[in-house]
Amino acid sequence: MSIGHVSPIRTYILIWAALMLGTIITVAASMVDFPGPLNAVVALAIATVKATLVVLFFMHVKYISYKVNIIVIVSAVFWLFLLLGMVSIDYVGRAFS
């Protein structure tokens, strides 16, 4: 059985630095009062970028080739949207109840 992709340490350090930068931007953004719902949008956007970096590089999703792994990842993301979508039925529906 193959042991899978081995990334150079340099990649890990670069991604770690990017994540730290993301954290600094998150803290800085929290000190700025954006109009309307933009505070949450900005924070979630930064968090999404950071999570994507973790999944692609630290979890090696960028390098996978097995179809079954792709199915697993797509299912996991779909499951997350299922959670968010079904919870939204409640939150959106309350306005009409």
Partner: protein, 540 residues
């Protein structure tokens, strides 16, 4: 070490006897036995709390425990039983032992992760016991906010950390099973030839891997809100308490299927074996496990119908809750059809399996009562709900687990238990269970709320019946502990296949060698091919 080449004629039990050969083992069978001892310990801890609850409810007055203590007792009963017994019991004990053997593999895909999962379970268990020693928790096993995040003065964070760590144990087990079933099946063991026990564990593993992270993070957020006053669930801080319930039940409803699906896998094995027939509708039973895993994720908000969720969301979740009854019913009808015109033998495992059918059917059907939006308003948070989920989670899971333990006991230990005592304990357990929990349906429908230590005097007769039943049930659960332990030394030594069953686990020795099979198996037959196998001498 257990991974060392076994001496000729030795088995997994005799291959190393030092403490380290057990505590550092990577053999899935030994890890299963470590789990067996651990979950049994927690079952009796949870049982002691159950006993205290039933004793308190013997009389309408709160005379045995203080109200605060009673809150802690039912909370600890729930948390210990759900997280430390019911969720791990079948996958971590029987699943660990049987999944690799049933598919013809030497071990699980990640033996070290398997051992790590047991250590995480133990660390979490010690934390839970420490929580108990410090005075326990009073939030109910559901950790509802804002009680848990704001008002409770008990050890919420420590209990939440225990459940958090235990969640990783569950995730590791699920991950191991998924990879093992995909990658390590013996030649010829196609998906359509997999035992239904394996299909059930595959579906369970998917739920474990997809659902458990959600509860882990949710409890972490409760801890953060409690300690650092982050506004997640507290309206005063801009949070939403219903968000907690959504996130909690997104895992905790499917968690019921983590408990019941592997039990259904056991029942499929038992009914096919003791009816001497191929399971009726193999594909339907296999796919219904996947159906339950998928649809079971989409019904969670039926726990929240009276909590103030949108009516439109309630309608959607009510419909989906009815819908999840379909794959469960497929299983029950197919098991019944398997028995029809079968050569049914009422051995101990089969009596447990038939008991499961009765109890699970009552539990499942009363779930449909609760899915009805109108009726649910009347019975929410009454003893009707308590009776319903005990019929599924205890009546169903524990009957199937004990049936499975008896069925595979000769394989696990190489010795047979006393059949008379086995049958007696199965029947005592069935009677005791019904006497304990059926009165709770009635008293709940009459309006007795759950989680109170006092109640109206007119409810006493039902509570006395329930407490009397609990003592009978306790006898039914203690008996196997006694005679199974006895059989370890005095039980008659049995052959490799005492039941004349099909399946790879019966083609290796009892107990199996460390590497499971002396020759790698090749599968050339269909699952449950009872009609075509040669007669095998049967020991019962």
């Amino acid at each position: 070490m257990s991974t060392a080449a076994a001496a000729p004629g030795s088995n997994y039990l005799t291959n190393g006897s030092s403490v380290s050969s057990w505590l550092l083992t990577k053999d899935h069978k030994r890890i299963a036995l470590l789990y067996l001892l651990s979950v049994t310990f927690f079952f009796f801890i949870g049982g002691i709390f159950a006993l205290l609850i039933r004793l308190e409810l013997l009389t309408p007055q709160g005379d045995l425990l203080q109200a605060d203590t009673y809150n802690k007792v039912f909370t600890m009963h729930g948390q210990v039983m759900v997280f430390f017994f019911l969720i791990p019991v079948v996958p971590a004990v029987l699943g660990n032992f049987l999944v690799p053997i049933m598919i013809g593999a030497k071990d699980l895909a990640f033996p070290r992760i398997n051992l790590l999962s047991w250590y995480l379970y133990i660390v979490a268990g010690i934390l839970m016991l420490w929580t108990l020693a410090l005075g326990g928790v009073d939030t109910g096993w559901t950790f509802y906010t804002p009680l848990s995040s704001q008002f409770s003065r008990t050890n919420v964070v420590m209990a939440a950390v225990a459940v958090f760590i235990n969640g990783f144990s569950s995730i590791f087990t699920g991950l191991n099973f998924i990879v093992t079933i995909h990658r390590m099946r013996a030649p010829g063991m196609t998906w359509n030839r997999l035992p239904l026990f394996i299909w059930a564990h595959y579906a369970t593993s998917v739920i474990m891997v997809l659902g458990t992270p959600v509860i882990a993070i949710t409890l972490l957020l409760v801890g953060f809100e409690r300690m650092f006053h982050l506004g997640i669930f507290d309206p005063a801080l801009g949070g939403d308490p219903l968000l907690f319930q959504h996130l909690f039940w997104f895992y905790s409803h499917p968690a019921v299927y983590i408990m019941i699906l592997p039990s259904m896998g056991i029942v499929s094995e038992l009914i096919a074996c003791f009816s001497r027939k191929r399971i009726f509708g193999y594909s339907a039973v296999a796919l219904s496990s996947i159906g339950i895993a998928v649809i079971g994720f989409l019904v969670w908000a039926h726990h929240m119908f009276v909590a103030g969720i949108s009516l439109y969301a309630a309608l959607v979740f009510s419909f989906l809750t009815y819908f999840v009854g379909v794959p469960s019913a497929i299983k029950v009808f197919n098991w019944t059809a398997t028995m029809y015109k079968g050569a049914v033998t009422l051995t101990t495992p089969m009596i447990y399996a038939i008991g499961f059918l009765g109890l699970f059917t009552i539990g499942g059907l009363t779930g449909l009562f609760l899915a009805a939006l109108g009726l649910d308003v009347h019975v929410t948070d009454t003893y009707f709900v308590v009776a319903h989920f005990h019929y599924v989670m205890v009546g169903g899971v524990v009957m199937a687990y004990l049936g499975g333990i008896h069925f595979w006991w000769p394989k696990i230990t190489g010795r047979m238990y006393p059949e008379f005592w086995g049958k007696l304990s199965a029947m005592i357990g069935f009677v005791g269970f019904n006497l304990t929990f059926f009165p709770q349906f009635i008293v709940g429908y009459l309006g007795m709320p759950r989680r109170y230590w006092m109640y109206a005097p007119e409810f006493q007769v039902w509570n006395v019946l329930s407490t009397a039943g609990a003592t009978v049930l306790a006898v039914g659960y203690l008996m196997p502990l006694v005679y199974l332990t006895w059989s370890l030394r005095y039980g008659p030594v049995v052959g490799d296949n005492p039941w004349g069953a099909v399946g790879l686990e019966w083609m290796t020795t009892s107990p199996p060698p460390t590497e499971n099979f002396l020759e790698p198996p090749v599968v050339t037959w269909e699952a449950y091919d009872y009609e075509h196998i040669k007669e095998v001498p049967v020991a019962y």
